[in-house]
Symmetry: C2
Subunit: 233 residues, 2 copies
DNA sequence: ACATACGTGTGGGAA
DNA sequence: TTCCCACGCGTATGT
């Protein structure tokens, strides 16, 4: 990784079009060719470019012009004055990060434990294809004999409501009594409002749902002690 | 900005849950408190945290533990071995980037030039409020006397189609003959398919739409030489 | 503080 | 390759 501290300006043209006036910033060039212009605040680089296939370097009037490009994009960086230049060695293949409690895991958990949310729920299928894309979970409610279109979210928004309603619409041409259900860790107020209005049932998963995976050996205790759901509506 | 090259590991708990095994990486601490752990490839930091309100530093067994937190999140970084530490001064308030040809500009352009897309289109209002949020442009078609719900996108996807259809639904309770229209620089195939099926008219804006802003002084030439739209449906 | 919408969103998986 | 969806999306703006 190479780091250059410089007064620089930049022009990007590709997915968008931006112009960066001169200023003292950090230019970072990574081992894989990724170029980043960083300032002293926030998460995002000001300008950047990945998957670079071509690099050109020119001197013009004592200033260095760097031209990075690929088939679709172009990034030009002009170094007006370089204050520092440095090469840093770090592992190119460091061990990867482990992500836990992703939506995918949450989906698995819910699929495997549908009866804990409602004893009448019976799991049918995951990623069941509808005319509007796959619904996360397809199930039936044995008490009402209705088909359940279940969408799982970490945080449900109004878009989640629209999404599950589309699945319901589509499935209604194949099944009788289709019901739309959201199961989420949290809900926007606006999402709850809309859900109520459109009769989408909202079920909240306890924040510590993943604990019950670790505790699953002692089933009895787990099902007694954990409040795995609340009904909101 | 402070930079530390170290063999480090990290644990994050907040919006998600991640675990980063030890490895040689760069730790960057910005002037606003933002913390980033960078590796030698790609755009994204491996771990990071913004809007930090509390920082704790401890030594345990000769290793430095850094604890960053705010009300909702926690990031712990353990420095197993520090290879380099360095402070870099860059402008905290460098001039901001200028973005051009944004969706907002595109909307303005389309609003001001609706007649170029269809001579019967007449602009009424921007950001017109519907029951499902504001529609980008409200207009009328003088030839059919229908109300037009126009949604502008750089790239239209199936979600754009659903979105404009919701606006149409909502507006249909106020107006007769509401028509849903998408105006975009590009379209997904699936979006076009769905749009056709649901009778959403799709209009494509020429990639060089912004040229006509610069050329606007010579109106005649511009309107003669530029193909500003295609009809797809 | 919360919600909404844009962004060069990025990244991953499937068709 | 394209398309779709989740993401600790980040970031700005309006309320």
């Amino acid at each position: 990784m190479k780091i250059i501290i410089a007064n620089l300006s930049a022009n990007y043209n590709g997915r968008g079009l931006t112009e960066l006036p001169p200023g003292k910033r950090m230019l970072m060039i990574k081992a894989d060719g990724t170029v980043l212009i960083m300032n002293d605040k926030g998460f995002r680089p000001i300008n950047y470019m990945t998957t670079i296939t071509q690099t050109k370097e020119e001197k013009r009037d004592g200033e260095t012009h760097l031209l990075f490009s690929n088939k679709k994009e172009k990034l030009e960086i002009i170094l007006h004055e370089v204050f520092k230049e440095e090469t840093i060695n770090i592992d190119t293949d460091d061990p990867p990060i482990k992500r836990e409690q992703t939506e995918n895991e949450l989906q698995s958990y819910i699929s495997d434990n549908l009866d804990k949310f409602d004893t009448n729920f019976k799991f049918i299928s995951r990623e069941y294809e509808t005319g509007f894309g796959p619904v996360d979970i397809l199930a039936i409610d044995r008490s009402t004999n209705s088909t359940l279109a279940i969408e799982v979210k970490r945080n449900a928004t109004i878009n989640s409501v629209y999404q599950v309603l589309r699945y319901k619409d589509s499935l209604s041409s194949q099944f009788n009594n289709v019901e739309a259900i959201l199961i989420a860790l949290s809900y926007n107020d606006t999402a709850l409002e809309l859900a109520k209005e459109r009769e989408v049932r909202c079920i909240t998963v306890s924040k510590n749902w993943s604990d019950s995976i670790d505790d699953s050996k002692s089933d009895k205790e787990a099902s007694d002690s954990l409040t795995l759901f609340d009904l909101t509506s």
